[in-house]
Amino acid sequence: MRLWKRIATRWFQFRDEVVGLIRGFQLLIVNLALIGKLRPVGLDPITVIVDSWREATILRLLWITQLLPRHKILVVRRACDLHLPTQSNFGGESLLIVTSRAFTKHYQLLASLRHQRRLVVL
């Protein structure tokens, strides 16, 4: 009985986590597409910060199939990968979009960016 309870707990944990991931990713896709519609052509491309290669791959596929607007992707797996957004080369007209999952994982570094740049947390 205890084993079944453990298995059930693990399954619910897995399911809840994946549901959260899916919701977050749907949010990113829909918002990116709508932002793409609103932005005038000719502006610097959007930069999207995600925290997994899976998300980056799917985003690239959606860009190739022209379901999403042109965007750069930055995959941040560890806090040390985040040195780039703090550099001045991310200024100007570029819009920085960060998934809520990536933001909450590295909020200590990204929270300060919120006041300085055009940072949208999705």
Binding site: D16, L27, I29, V30, N31, K105
Partner: protein
């Protein structure tokens, strides 16, 4: 509310707030607090009991307790830790409030480290992580050495530091935010104290709600690199069979995460006494703590249970097909999240969808999303399930392999 004891410490610097909801079997932290290397008048210990139990586990250490308050909540009300945090904040006389585990071990320099950290970095919120040992032979607690807790059976010792403190991959899940959180009392009052929203009822809650809002209000979050707490195994430590509010699958409140994302600093539901302190509308005093009468109804166990099962309450905010759905007084409103950014707020009318019923809103949203996007959703769902399952399986195999090779080596 009833006081068993009321603090007589003249001017403590630190107020330790320890909680119980008639479940704690051991308060051995109090034993370690009696061994601190600072003057005893520098800190006070406040115990907040949610119900009416006068715990026998506290009696052996009663001389270490300065204030002991029973909130006397009805037995049919589910526990809400944030209400206890607020009671502790109102009662605290110290400049620094420390909310921590009452069944953990601390070294004699624990209080000194906290005071020193705040002297060096006043505008901070300080967290202290916890070594956790999973050995069941250490239960019931038998005062092991610190080296015993960090040795065999310790699940998060990485070269003398906790895994959470050295982790830069996913700190929010690998650090124990509930182990020990320290913040200045004035700062906690300025952000409205702990949030008494129903989303934090039961196991999914913690002082990190206040940490995130303090970070949003410009405070720096610091994790102590040399001071730790030490926790040994006991039954029910993972919140089994508890009511769970909305969380991200790994027991971090999505409502708290949402506050962090949106930059919110005030709680969704502020305690009246904290609000009065914040607005300085009434003098400070222990008798001023009040509990909203509405909580006695909304937190009732019968209202959050269906048969033998707990039913998670409806969060005020949901995500549906990439849109945020908020419940308002008129009904429901859905919008893409980027509208929350000031740069895009001018497009509000263009994208917002209103409806009286949630089902009606879902139908309207389905109609507004292009068909090709809706085709993408199931593909994304499938890919996420498969890739996550593969990821977890490989992690499990890696750990197994690591354990096998480690055992073979030793």
């Amino acid at each position: 509310m009833k006081f068993i004891k009321q603090s007589a410490r003249p001017t403590p610097k630190v107020s330790l707030i320890l909680l119980d909801w008639s479940v704690r079997e051991s308060f051995h932290l109090l034993h370690y607090l009696s061994k601190q290397d600072v003057d005893r008048d520098l800190f006070e210990v406040i115990i907040i009991e949610y119900y009416s139990r006068v715990s026998d586990a506290i009696r052996p250490f009663e001389d270490q307790v300065d204030s002991w308050l029973l909130l006397e909540m009805p037995e049919d009300c589910y526990y809400h830790k944030h209400l206890m945090y607020n009671a502790g904040i109102v009662l605290a006389q110290g400049d620094i409030c420390v909310i921590c585990d009452s069944d953990a071990m601390v070294k004699p320099r624990f209080i000194r480290s906290i005071i020193t950290e705040f002297e060096n970095h006043p505008n901070t919120v300080l967290h202290i992580d916890q070594f956790r040992n999973a050995r069941k032979d250490l239960y019931p607690f038998r005062y092991p050495d610190f080296s015993e807790v960090t040795g065999r059976g310790c699940i998060n010792n990485v070269g003398g530091k906790t895994r959470g403190v050295v982790d830069d991959k996913d700190p929010i899940h690998n650090r124990n935010y509930g182990a020990c959180m320290c913040a200045r009392r004035d700062d906690l009052i300025a952000i409205g104290g702990a949030d008494e929203h129903i989303d934090y009822l039961g196991h999914i809650c913690g002082p990190y709600d206040m940490t995130f809002r303090l970070v949003n209000s410009g405070h720096r979050e610091i994790w102590h690199q040399t001071e730790f707490m030490y926790h040994t195994w006991h039954p029910g430590q993972a919140g089994e069979d508890n009511y769970l509010g909305p969380h991200d699958g790994r027991h971090v409140s999505t409502t708290a995460l949402d506050a962090l994302i949106s930059g919110r600093t005030m709680p969704l539901e502020e305690n009246e006494s904290i609000k009065n302190l914040r607005l300085a509308t009434e003098p400070q005093g222990v008798d001023t703590f009040r509990i909203a009468p509405a909580h006695l109804v909304s937190w009732q166990k019968d209202n959050i249970r269906k048969g033998m099962q707990w039913v998670a309450g409806n969060s005020s905010r949901k995500i549906w097909h990439g849109f945020v759905i908020d419940k308002t007084s008129d009904g429901y409103i859905a919008y893409p999240r980027f509208l929350e950014h000031p740069e895009f707020s001018k497009f509000q009318e263009q994208f917002e969808i209103h409806a009286r019923m949630e089902m009606e809103l879902h139908e309207r949203l389905d109609g507004s999303i292009p068909f090709r996007w809706r085709l993408v959703f199931p593909v994304v769902t499938l890919l996420t399930y498969v890739s996550r399952a593969i990821g977890l399986a490989s992690l499990y195999l890696q750990r197994r392999w690591g354990r096998l090779t480690h055992e073979a080596y030793t």
